[in-house]
C-alpha cells in the first residue's frame, strides 16, 4: 500500500503554524513579483477569491477582510523538510513529490493496521509541525491520489481515506470521478477519451489496456492498471524527470538596461548551479530566455531564447555563468523593456555517471577536482553563513529583479534574527 500525504493549503498552514492570530481568518499568500494569489485559506476561498487572482483586482471589501502575505519560501521549504522528517518516523519509504506532497510507501506493513497508522501519522504531523494534512491510502499512486482528494473533500473521512481497488466504495468513487480529474490525464487526452466514450475514471479502468496503449500512450495504459489496483507508474511518468532545471523570475519593474539583465542572468545561473550540485547532477547545456510583457498592448514585443552547449557536462557555476552570458549576448536587443528572464539547465546527468573523456590529461583531472572543491566551499559558505554570502559579481541594491516581498512574514525557522517571539507577561 502507498499513501499520498499532502498539506492543506500548505503555504497558509505554514504561516498559521507561527501566527495563531491567523486561525479562522481569510488568509492568502501572494507570488513575489506579479502579486497573484498562490495559496488561499478555506475562508479566502469562501470569499470567492480564485487561485491566481491578481492582488490589484481583488474587491476592496475582500482586501479589507483578508490577510494577504508575500510568499516566505524559506519558511515553506523548511516546513516541508520537517513534514517529511515526521513522515520518516512512520515509514522508511518517503518520497517527496512536491513542496507539499509526499508519497509514503508501506510495503511489508501489515495491511489491516494501516488506516490507524495513517491516522497517527496525520495527528503527529499536525502536532509536531503544526501542519494539517490529508492522507489517501491505496494500493497504487493513482488511487492514493484520488483517495487523498476524497479525504480532503468529505469531512466524514476526518482526513484519512482508504480506497481498496475492488471495493464497492471505490467503484462509486471512480464512477463519480471525471476522467480529466485523474492524476496524469491532460485536458487534451480527456477530450479524446470523451470522443471514444470514456468520461469517468471507472470507464477508463474498464477499458482494454492494449487498446488504450495503441490509441494513447504507455503512460495512459499504466493508468488503467493503476486504477485496477496494480502499481504500474513510476514517478517519472508524472513529474518532470530530473532532466532540466529552471530558475527564472519576473522583474519587479520593466527594464531595458543590458547590465541589469546581465546581472539577473548571472544570479539565476548561480542559483541554478547551486540547485544542480545539491541534486548531484551535471548539466550539458545552458538555455537563457528573455521576454517583454505580453500584457502591455502597444509596447514592442520580443521574446527569444538561446542555448549554449557546455564543452563537457559541468556543475561549475563559473562555466554555467560564462555560457549563460554568451547566450544572453546572442539574444539581447536594445530598445525593448524586458519583463522576465530565466536560465534553464538542460540534459542533466548524474555526477557519478560522468565518463572521463579519452582526451583527458592529469591536468584536466586536477582542474576538475579543484572545481569541485571550490564549488563545495562556495555552497557550504552560502548554506552556513546565509544565502548570497559568496556570489558572482555584485547585484546592486534596488535591482529590479529583487523579490518584492513587503508583506513577508519572518523566516521563523531559518534566521536567528527572525525567530518567533513569545511573551512571558
Amino acid at each position: 500500500m502507498i499513501a499520498l500525504v499532502d498539506g492543506n493549503n500548505f503555504y497558509v498552514s505554514c504561516e498559521r503554524a507561527f501566527d495563531p492570530r491567523l486561525a479562522g481568518r481569510p488568509v492568502g499568500v501572494l507570488s513575489n513579483n506579479d502579486g497573484c494569489v498562490v495559496a488561499r485559506s478555506q475562508e479566502l476561498k469562501a470569499l470567492g477569491v480564485a487561485m491566481g487572482a491578481p492582488l490589484h483586482l481583488l474587491p476592496p471589501d475582500v482586501r479589507r477582510q483578508a490577510v494577504l502575505l508575500s510568499s516566505n519560501y524559506a519558511l515553506y521549504g523548511d516546513m516541508s523538510r520537517r513534514v517529511n522528517q515526521v513522515l520518516a518516523e512512520f515509514s522508511p519509504d518517503v518520497e517527496p513529490y512536491s513542496i507539499d506532497e509526499s508519497f509514503v510507501g508501506f510495503d511489508g506493513f501489515p495491511e489491516e493496521g494501516l488506516e490507524a497508522h495513517c491516522r497517527a501519522l496525520r495527528e503527529t504531523v499536525g502536532r509536531w509541525a503544526g501542519i494539517p494534512v490529508g492522507v489517501g491510502l491505496a494500493s497504487t499512486r493513482v488511487l492514493a491520489k484520488l483517495a487523498n482528494r476524497l479525504a480532503k473533500r468529505e469531512p466524514a473521512f476526518e482526513g484519512v481515506c482508504r480506497l481498496d481497488a475492488d471495493d464497492e466504495a471505490t467503484h462509486r468513487a471512480l464512477a463519480a470521478c471525471p476522467v480529466e480529474d485523474l492524476w496524469g490525464v491532460a485536458r487534451r487526452s480527456a477530450e479524446r477519451l470523451a470522443l471514444m466514450g470514456i468520461t469517468t475514471a471507472w470507464e477508463l479502468r474498464e477499458a482494454d489496456p492494449r487498446w488504450v496503449r495503441s490509441h494513447f500512450s504507455l503512460v495512459m495504459e499504466r493508468l488503467v492498471w493503476e486504477l485496477r489496483g496494480r502499481p504500474a507508474i513510476v514517478l517519472d511518468d508524472m513529474s518532470e524527470p530530473r532532466r532540466r532545471l529552471l530558475v527564472s523570475r519576473s522583474f519587479g519593474r520593466l527594464t531595458g538596461e543590458r547590465h541589469e539583465l546581465e546581472a539577473a542572468i548571472r544570479q539565476h545561473a548561480a542559483r541554478a548551479g547551486e540547485k544542480l550540485r545539491r541534486q548531484g547532477s551535471l548539466a550539458r547545456a545552458v538555455q537563457v530566455f528573455v521576454r517583454t510583457s505580453p500584457f502591455l498592448v502597444g509596447e514592442p514585443q520580443y521574446r527569444n531564447a538561446a542555448l549554449v552547449a557546455l564543452p563537457a557536462p559541468s556543475a561549475d557555476s563559473r562555466e554555467l555563468l560564462a555560457a549563460a552570458r554568451r547566450a544572453l549576448a546572442a539574444i539581447f536587443l536594445e530598445g525593448y523593456r524586458y519583463q522576465k528572464c530565466g536560465v534553464m539547465l538542460l540534459d542533466l546527468m548524474e555526477t557519478e555517471r560522468a565518463q572521463p573523456s579519452l582526451l583527458e590529461t592529469p591536468a584536466d583531472d586536477a582542474r576538475r577536482a579543484r572545481s569541485q572543491r571550490l564549488m563545495a566551499t562556495l555552497d557550504r559558505l552560502n548554506r552556513e553563513m546565509g544565502r548570497d554570502t559568496v556570489r558572482f559579481g555584485l547585484p546592486r541594491p534596488g535591482n529590479p529583479w529583487a523579490l518584492r516581498c513587503e508583506r513577508r512574514t519572518p523566516r521563523y525557522t531559518t534566521r536567528w534574527s527572525e525567530l518567533m517571539r513569545v511573551k512571558t507577561s
Binding site: W128, A129, G130, L419, K423
Partner: protein, 152 residues
Amino acid sequence: MSLSHRTRIRVVGRAASEGVGPPRPLMGCRVRAGFPSPADDHLDAEIDLHAHVVKRPAATYFVRAEGDSMHGDGIHHGDLLVVDRSLEPLPGRVIVIALEGEPTVKRLERRGSGVWLVASNPRFAPIPLAGRECEVWGVVTHVVHDLLGRAP
C-alpha cells in the same frame, strides 16, 4: 634570523607516482588477535550541544522570549527558548501557549480542579485556563541565556 627572510621554493615538476609496485588487493578488515586496543575505549565523538538539546529535530523550534514574568524559571527578556512540539503539556512544564492568539510562555499548573497558567514572577497573577480560547503550541525544554548580555 630576520623575519623577512623567506625560503624560496622552485617547482621542478610533478612527483613521480610510478614505482609503487604491482597493485595489491586491499584488505577491508583487520584480523584481530589477542586483546582489544585499550584506545578503543577512548574513541569518543565530539560533544555536540545541539544534539543534546534538540532531541527531536523535526518537532523542535527556537523562539525568542519577551518580557520578565518568567525570571523564576530562569527565562529573561531576549533569551532563546528551545521548544519541542512533540512533548505533552504536563502540569509543571513550561509551555508556549497561544492565549487569544498571542503566543505566551507560562508554567502549567493544576490547582484544585482547574488548570492554571502561572508566571514565576509574583507580580503577575495566575491565569485560569477555563473558559479561555487557547491552544498549546509546545513545551519549553531549554533556555539559552547569554551572560555577556548579547542576544544568544
